[in-house]
Amino acid sequence: MSLRFQRLILILITLVFLSAAVVLILFNTKQNIVFFYTPTELIENDFILNKKVRIGGYVKKSSFIKKSLNTYEFKITDNVNELLVFYNGILPDLFREGQGTVIEGFLNNNNNIVASKVYAKHDENYMPASIKKELEKNNQWKKNYK
């Protein structure tokens, strides 16, 4: 068994291992390292009751109700389906209707969430406030969320 023959076998074995590994990893990377689920994803793989879960989406327009000091109720949606959220605590100053948000909380039975933490998610558009006023003045301002 000369050295080169041994090394050749080991090269073949390593290539087989590496290709199998790449296939395994690429095939199922998507679902599991997830920071948050969208409401549709959550509903698809059937709710997990009272298990800590993170949901990301947009605050539905005109669904924001301020019940009392620091307790709020709003709907979170990803333009497909939506979930009702109860939250009491301080909201980040970026948070308002139509804004992207990530919620950590527990699902109680009829598909609404008691949130323990609310993050405001900033999308990637930066635009000076001045231009926004002009656009609003001659009402070209339209908020098209995908």
């Binding site: 980040p92 970026l94 804004q99 998610k121 990637e124």
Partner: protein, 231 residues
């Protein structure tokens, strides 16, 4: 033309020529950047806090760029056996570490008002923290081995193994839906950042990278002198 990047003597000659003008140019660029940032408009969503971006984004890019440069140099050093590349690796490791810690601190300062928390365990932030730990390990490894040849080769191989982290950082926002927003500049369509904010950002990036280059030049020259003493 480019072999001052590989040959220490040519590097010294080239550097002596361009060092003084480079320092003056950097001061100019930085003052221009300072004014542009001061007069840059507030963001329609965040208002004043967006100004942290002018430190956070350049230091993030330069942290990744420094590691990419170190990876290229370790490949050159190992494959073509050029000793100068190991000198450069040793010299620019701390610069990358400083840029990474700058990016982490400015990022978390920006996160508190925007997201509502100093630190959140998501893919982009954790992988940048791992990059910082890799930088620290490289700096510590530089002090461990007695034998120079073993030390250089081990660190070069370690940098190569650690470079798996670069694509993870770059594409972590696109692969997994993370709290950190996707890239504003590299989108194929028009960049979703307004022109009046893009200019100061680019100026600040150029300023930061020139500071990095100056410090790198000083450290590499010091390293060459150190190496000559032992040679």
């Amino acid at each position: 033309m480019f072999n001052f990047l590989i040959n220490p003597y040519k590097f010294n000659k080239f550097v002596d020529i361009i060092f003084k003008p480079l320092v003056i140019l950097t001061l100019l660029v930085l003052t221009a950047g300072l004014f542009l940032v001061y007069f840059s408009p507030l963001d329609y969503q965040q208002g004043l806090t967006v100004k942290i971006m002018y430190i956070h984004v350049p230091s993030a890019w330069l942290a990744l760029l420094t590691y990419a440069i170190m990876t290229i140099y370790s490949i050159i050093g190992l494959a073509f056996k050029i000793p100068f590349s190991f000198i450069i690796n040793k010299a620019i490791a701390p610069i990358g570490a400083v840029f990474t810690i700058l990016c982490l601190i400015s990022g978390s300062m920006w996160g508190k008002p925007m997201w509502g928390t100093w630190w959140v365990w998501d893919a982009r932030l954790t992988s940048v923290a791992i990059l910082f730990i890799v930088y620290l390990l490289i700096i510590f490894l530089n002090q461990t081995f007695e034998n120079r040849e073993v030390r250089e080769k081990t660190i070069a191989i370690f940098i190569l193994i650690g470079s798996i982290n670069l694509p993870i950082i770059k594409f972590s926002v696109d692969w997994w839906n993370t709290l950190h927003q996707t890239a504003s500049i590299s989108k194929l369509s028009a960049p979703s950042i307004d022109m009046s904010m893009l200019q100061p950002l680019l100026i600040m990036t150029i300023g930061f990278s020139m500071i990095g280059v100056i410090i790198a030049i000083l450290r590499i020259k010091a390293e060459i002198l150190l190496r000559k003493k032992f040679l």
